[in-house]
Subunit: 105 residues, 2 copies
């Protein structure tokens, strides 16, 4: 399994980010050919025993799963992949960092 | 589900890192109370149509799953959690960034 991991920095307007992600970006991403599943995580800092926590380096992390490296590469170069990538500038005001994870057993 | 995400930067000696991770660190981490599963991903850059790829920001990403926030916090403050955290300096020569992901549905 190959995962495209998309790490979003904290946006200027989290409520607007959330609405755009839900109503526009996620539907665009779900059209990407070969996409098997999406997993979303809200980022938090590391909790300490005294109740404080570190600052979270990201706001949201999305993991998009594909069967293998070739399927992921084809997805990224598809029109649907380009549409989703092109939409990032419309809402990812806190920046975005992307990388691939190849599952290790 | 709450995930502790551990992002390792590229180490000075990847072979030594891999051996320490497999033989020392992973066994330490697997003793952490409340840990339900571990998922490991080898990081790669984003592939481009011309066969090149971006540079991967990390070398290895480990995701440790716990049932909820309280279980994760207890795990981090346990002796086993402290032992695993204390071992990081023994092999994570490329640095390490930790954060928590709270699963969104």
């Amino acid at each position: 399994m190959h995962r495209l991991t998309v790490c979003y920095g904290r946006p200027q307007d989290p409520a607007a980010f959330d609405a755009h992600y839900r109503d526009v970006h996620r539907p665009l991403a779900e059209k990407i050919p070969g996409l098997q599943s999406v997993r979303l995580g809200a980022c938090e800092g590391i909790p300490a025993p005294d109740g404080t926590s570190t600052e979270a380096p990201y706001y949201l992390v999305a993991e998009l799963e594909f069967a293998d490296a070739a399927t992921l590469a084809a997805a990224l170069s598809s029109p649907e992949g380009a549409a989703a990538a092109g939409d990032l500038e419309n809402f990812a005001t806190g920046g975005v960092s992307l990388f691939v994870q190849r599952d290790l057993v």
